[in-house]
Amino acid sequence: MLRIENLKVNYGGIEAVKGISFEVPERSIVTLIGANGAGKSSTLRTIAGLVKAREGHIYFDDEDISSMPARKRVEKGITLCPEGRRVFPDMTVLENIRIGAYLRKDDLTKDIQAVYKLFPRLEERHWQLAGTLSGGEQQMLAVARGLMSSPRIMMLDEPSLGLAPIVVQEIFGTIRRINQERGTTILLIEQNANMALKIASHAYVMETGRIVMSGSGSELLENEEIRAAYLGKRKH
């Protein structure tokens, strides 16, 4: 569904992504893991169209979308939940949700009900300003807002950032549900490699702008080097 070929991105004067290629099949959960500064976020931002690629191509359904503006990509069904949640703090929860669907002209009530079903907490707080929500609730709102554009592929940039372990579990559970119930393809980047690898069907490991390893989620979970580098477990 999504194919990246030899993507190079410059970000803030340095070459953040140094020519990576990978694929995201339809209805799968794919994760990119790696340390800080590996170029994960830059990759997602480039796919979303927020940053221009220096070289390489992005194909969505075999169509080259490398030079499309961000809003056209949203229309095609690519949505990014940016890092650090980035909800609109001085707008109400409901307004935030509505903004997510701003490119759509059809009736939204059904979709709003659907995301409320996914996150009942948001329905309780629909009148509250988003800035007053807890971190976990803001992350839920960011996901709900992303879902409102009825994406075919949803990209999540570190959804576990700064959240309590129990909340992280909840969020990952929901991500899996979205994938299974709606058939939305998920491209997830995470520093919390353990969680990400557990739900991913396929995973890529990034290091300083390059993909250094790939495999299925369970394969990488077993891999000695990955365990040592990202999961904090010693080699036996």
């Binding site: 927020l50 961000a70 809003r71 990014l80 909800v87 609109f88 707008m91 903004i99 701003y102 554009s149």
Partner: protein
Amino acid sequence: MDQSFHAMGERRRNIVLSLCLAGLLLACCGYLQANKYEYNYAISIIERSLIYAVVAVSMNLVNGFTGLFSLGQAGFMAIGAYVTAILTIPTANRPSVYYISGIHPWIENLHAPALLALILGGLAAAACAALIGIPVLRLKSDYLAIATLGFAEIIRALIAAPMMDRITNGSYGLKSIPGFSSIFQVLALAACSIGLMVLLINSSYGRMFKAIREDEIAAEAMGINLFRTKELSFVISSFFAGISGGMLAMFMRSIDSKTFQVSLTYDILLIVVIGGIGSVTGSVLGAFLVTAGREILRFFDEPFFLGGVQVPLFRPGFRMVIFSLLLMIVVLFYSKGLMGTNEFSWNSICRFFGRKERKKQEGRVPHDGAK
């Protein structure tokens, strides 16, 4: 069910209260208008406040709701004012207005009714905004402020330039502009303009503006066209700034390029900040407080005798010291302006008084739930 019934009752109460308030204000204006020779001064303060309210709300649309720090308001007002003035000065009076350099043949017989002239003035300001928006709106925060400020000064310099003498009458300015015949004209124009802007703010466009203000990156990731949305906000704001400039020209009846100096923009900015950045009712309130405050404080400028001794501080200019002190106090204690980002609503007022009522009634059996 009970709740929705309650909400409906609240809405009906709000409509009744709003109509009462509007009726009361109209009656007050009617009274002032009927005795207009007696209340000349009050009428002029109200008219000026209304005009400032329009431009303050327009500035709030860009600065408060879209989060673009623009300081070009005086420039757009100048465009609106000059277009309105040139189109409405009676043809018979034109030779006496342009007595120095003569009038340009293009505009010699160009005349339009006041309302049309105001709208054309707004459109001219909007067109200029659309043009300069293309390069300028790519800038952020302070840089945008400096660029728009510079633009406003360029407009002013162009108006005063000798080459424009036969159109704008250069530094002599324009006079004999027909004024408003009653306070209701100003009131209607201001109400229409502010009403249209409120409709815009509450529409899905308003949500887009706010999203850009809160987080540009997230807004872009949601598929909002940043540039087009910013340009839209900027152009609409400038349209209403142009309208209010035209109204100011009709109110003052004579204008020159000095009317639209940077200090005018600062005055408007002051109103927006005092009222609350991101609050329409705040801007309207601010316009009245700032305009009226300046006038009411005038007694500080007059000599003041206490027990036969003249207090030395009371001399022309002293009121501005007091005025500035008051502003500082407001900003210190209401750092988000008087209204913050809230809007005036009957519900919040009723809640405020309701709390006091409930305290009085504590201990009694609540009977409104039983019905």
